[in-house]
């Protein structure tokens, strides 16, 4: 079967997916082996019946051609086997699904959870997709409501990440747009409630800030867990949001955040339930180490020449990611290092994609970055890849000398862990959550992203001493990366689920 808008089977750089199901399009030469399930997982009498909810779906479906209905959305139930990857759907980029899916697979194979129901926003998808041990339930919202929902979501996102004046959105919860935000959340809660009537779930695991009101809307006595993926810093929320947010949060039995610092803020904010810190994680088995022969043709397509020296920044096109700061620092080094290139890998998120909310921020931010690079005289040396496949992403890591995460605020920053497992040193923004496990000059270099001289200085330090400082940072990074493995997370999440159902 075919969709009117065919897609190239590629995805966001920061979210490797093709290997996730063991269905790699092109088998890499050396794929890291999947580790066997950890025997220390919680043991349960019978696997838990779990309902997971994320805004971003695991699989994204293309929008219909103008004037046409969405072909997939007209169908009630589809098996994944009847759909064609790259034509009918593609795997979602984005940190949340990227973390949740491997975790569910791991917990399922360890017998902790059974067949799981996963509810997401997915306007152009069939209502239900049978996907191995998962059943994906898709919530569709009309475009006008979706646009208003997107406005609220972006306002919260921008405010939390310091991209908006907090006072400007004081009345957010009273706006007409918020009514649509509530519409989407209520629709999702009703879908979950209806599934609960069929499956009698043991617990509900709700992910990410967009879904915060779901706990209250579910109105169930069963355990509800919430994972807050973005930064949690109480002072970033407008005062007028506090009571409402506290009310929403306190509807959950457990709230999971990504760093100890966020956990402190969560408690100070007035959350009275069980607060838990679990570091975000990656599944190392999804990554590969491509050979130099493989790497060369891939990076050449992005404009990297054989003799170039490459700095890599991986992240979607979003002002929060601070690629502009990386360009400014890069420009300070450009004359002294004529073969240096800055490779910016990544495109938009689900919110920016046509299959999602269709927000324009990704494209406009890339235009802005290109303009900055031109203004600083490094236009031809800042290279944009857009979406890349997992294989291409691995090649970019293999080709670079070091990576930089210049985010002005970042929930965590898993690309640093990716850099470590690819044995590349990393320069890390002090404002990223992962800074909590960075020991400066031991496993990474910490910088203030808005200080281009400081960033350029740290870039130069690694460029000047790759075998000394660079190698030291890699050794330290490999140790730190162990805190962010799927195994470590699966153990922690397994205990969390056990505690949630047993009290």
């Amino acid at each position: 079967m075919g969709a009117p808008t065919a897609w190239t089977p590629v995805r966001s750089a920061s979210s490797p997916d093709e290997n996730r199901l063991g269905r790699a399009v092109l088998a890499p030469l050396r794929v890291r082996p999947t580790l066997p399930p950890d025997p220390r997982y919680m043991t349960v009498e019978s696997p838990l019946d779990l309902c997971v909810n994320t805004q971003t779906p695991l699989l994204q479906f293309p929008p219909p051609a103008p004037g046409q209905p969405a072909p997939a959305a007209s169908r009630d139930v589809e098996s994944i086997g009847s759909l064609v990857e790259g034509v009918d759907y593609r795997y979602s980029p984005g940190g949340v699904t990227r973390m949740v899916h491997p975790l569910l697979r791991r917990l399922h194979s360890a017998g902790v959870v059974g067949a799981t129901q996963w509810v997401s926003l997915n306007p152009f998808a069939p209502r239900t997709i049978l996907f191995n041990d998962l059943t994906l339930h898709n919530v569709a919202v009309a475009p006008d409501r979706l646009a208003a929902y997107g406005n609220v979501k972006e306002t919260i996102w921008g405010t939390v990440h310091g991209l908006r004046e907090s006072g400007g959105s004081d009345n957010l919860f009273w706006s007409d747009d918020f009514s649509e935000y509530a519409y989407y959340n209520r629709l999702t809660a009703e879908t979950i409630r209806s599934l609960d009537a069929q499956h009698d779930f043991d617990l509900f695991y709700i992910h990410d800030f967009q879904q915060l009101p779901i706990g209250e809307m579910l109105g169930t006595l069963k355990p509800k867990l919430f994972r807050w993926h973005i930064p949690f810093e109480a002072d970033s929320f407008p005062e007028r949001w506090h009571a409402a947010m506290r009310g929403y949060l306190n509807q959950y039995d457990t709230v999971v955040v990504s760093t100890d610092r966020y956990l402190e803020h969560l408690r100070e904010f007035g959350y009275t339930g069980r607060g838990v810190r679990i570091y975000p994680y990656i599944d190392e088995s999804e990554y590969s180490d491509p050979s130099p022969e493989e790497v060369l043709p891939i990076v050449e397509r992005f404009g990297v020449k054989e003799t170039d020296r490459v700095i890599l920044a991986v992240g979607r096109m979003d002002p929060m990611k601070g690629q502009d700061h990386a360009i400014r620092a890069f420009a300070l080094l450009a004359k002294r290092f004529p073969r240096l290139r800055l490779l910016l890998v990544g495109n938009g998120s689900f919110s920016s994609s046509a299959s999602g909310l269709g927000l324009p921020k990704s494209g406009s931010w890339r235009n802005r970055l290109e303009a900055i690079a031109e203004e600083l005289g490094v236009g031809g040396r800042v290279l944009f890849t857009g979406h890349v496949t997992q294989r291409e992403l691995d090649a970019c890591y293999a080709r670079c000398e070091f990576t930089i995460l210049p985010s002005i605020r970042e929930g965590f920053g898993l690309v640093v862990v990716e850099s470590w497992i690819h044995r590349r040193p990393a320069i890390v923004s002090k404002r990223a959550g992962i800074a909590e496990i960075v020991r400066n000059r031991t496993n990474a270099l910490l910088v203030d992203p808005e200080d281009p001289k400081q960033v350029a200085g740290q870039m130069e330090a690694i460029l000047a001493d790759p075998k000394g400082l660079g190698a030291k940072l890699v050794r330290g990074g490999l140790v730190a990366a162990k805190k962010c493995t799927i195994e470590a997370a699966a153990r922690a999440e397994s205990e969390l689920l056990g505690a949630a159902v047993e009290g």
């Binding site: 519409y183 209250e216 109105g219 007028r240």
Partner: protein, 254 residues
């Protein structure tokens, strides 16, 4: 074989026709009453509708039986006697159920609040049709008849409770709650200057059956003296939103 004359069946035909008409008139008048009452008193709109329907049925059934030659005097007498006996026998529970009915609308407390009524003080842990269960500071359960909450002075000791206006209402089981919530929020947004902006409206599902969903809408007011006016205005807006969308309001949740 010969059939009896049609006139023999006429009373039965009249009986069936009257019942059919009763059904139609009952349904129509119930809806009409519900809508008219809902304009001013949304929470009791459905109850008013149901009462109207019952009255129409009593009248209709009486006329129908008259067509069959049954003495309606005896029928009405029986209804009166049974009704009177039921009221006498169930006086206490009815008082409590009635009190619960009104306390739902007019008494400012809910589950989790700490209240004082008569000689009893405690946290409300259950409100059933007959009693309200409190847990006292000494960890003792006290079951207080609902009628006491109407007869006696009730003090809600929870802080800032004067701000809270809770309006219970019910909608049909097939109502699109997402749309209802969105429309309600938009409507209540017009009152935001009179409401505490820190607390957006909260729509809570309290009970659900295939036929109906019981909900409460909670808003927080800014000025205590606005309480009555805002309660009425919120009720009116609920009624408007529900009826404009072509949905049927029922009464306060049980």
């Amino acid at each position: 074989m010969s059939f009896p004359p049609i006139a023999t069946f006429l009373p039965l035909i009249y009986f069936a026709v009257i019942l059919l008409l009763t059904w139609a008139v009952g349904r129509l008048s119930g809806l009409l009453a519900s809508r008219i009452i809902g304009r001013t008193m949304a929470p009791v709109a459905a109850a008013g509708g149901r009462l109207t329907t019952v009255i129409v049925w009593v009248i209709g059934v009486t006329f129908a039986f008259q067509e069959l030659g049954v003495s309606t005097d005896i029928l009405l007498l029986m209804i009166l006697i049974v009704g009177f006996a039921a009221i006498v026998a169930l006086r206490e529970p009815l008082q409590n159920i009635g009190a619960k009915y009104f306390s739902d609308i007019y008494t400012p407390f809910k589950l989790g609040d700490t209240v004082q009524v008569g000689a009893y003080t405690g946290k409300v842990i259950e409100i059933n049709p007959v009693t309200t269960v409190l847990i006292t500071e000494s960890d003792t359960l006290v079951s207080v008849p609902n009628s006491l909450f109407v007869r006696d002075v009730v003090t809600n000791l929870s802080p800032q409770k004067w701000r809270e206006v809770i309006v219970p209402f019910s909608v049909g089981g097939s109502v699109d709650l997402a749309r209802l919530e969105s429309d309600l929020r938009k409507s209540l947004g017009k009152l935001r200057l009179r409401l505490d902006a820190r607390f957006p409206p909260v729509l809570t599902t309290r009970a659900r059956t295939a036929l109906s969903t019981d909900l409460t809408l909670t808003v927080m007011i800014r000025q205590p003296e606005d309480r009555d006016a805002i309660t009425a205005e919120v009720g009116k807006r609920i009624s408007e939103v529900v009826s404009l969308s072509g949905r049927t309001t029922s009464g306060p949740s049980a």
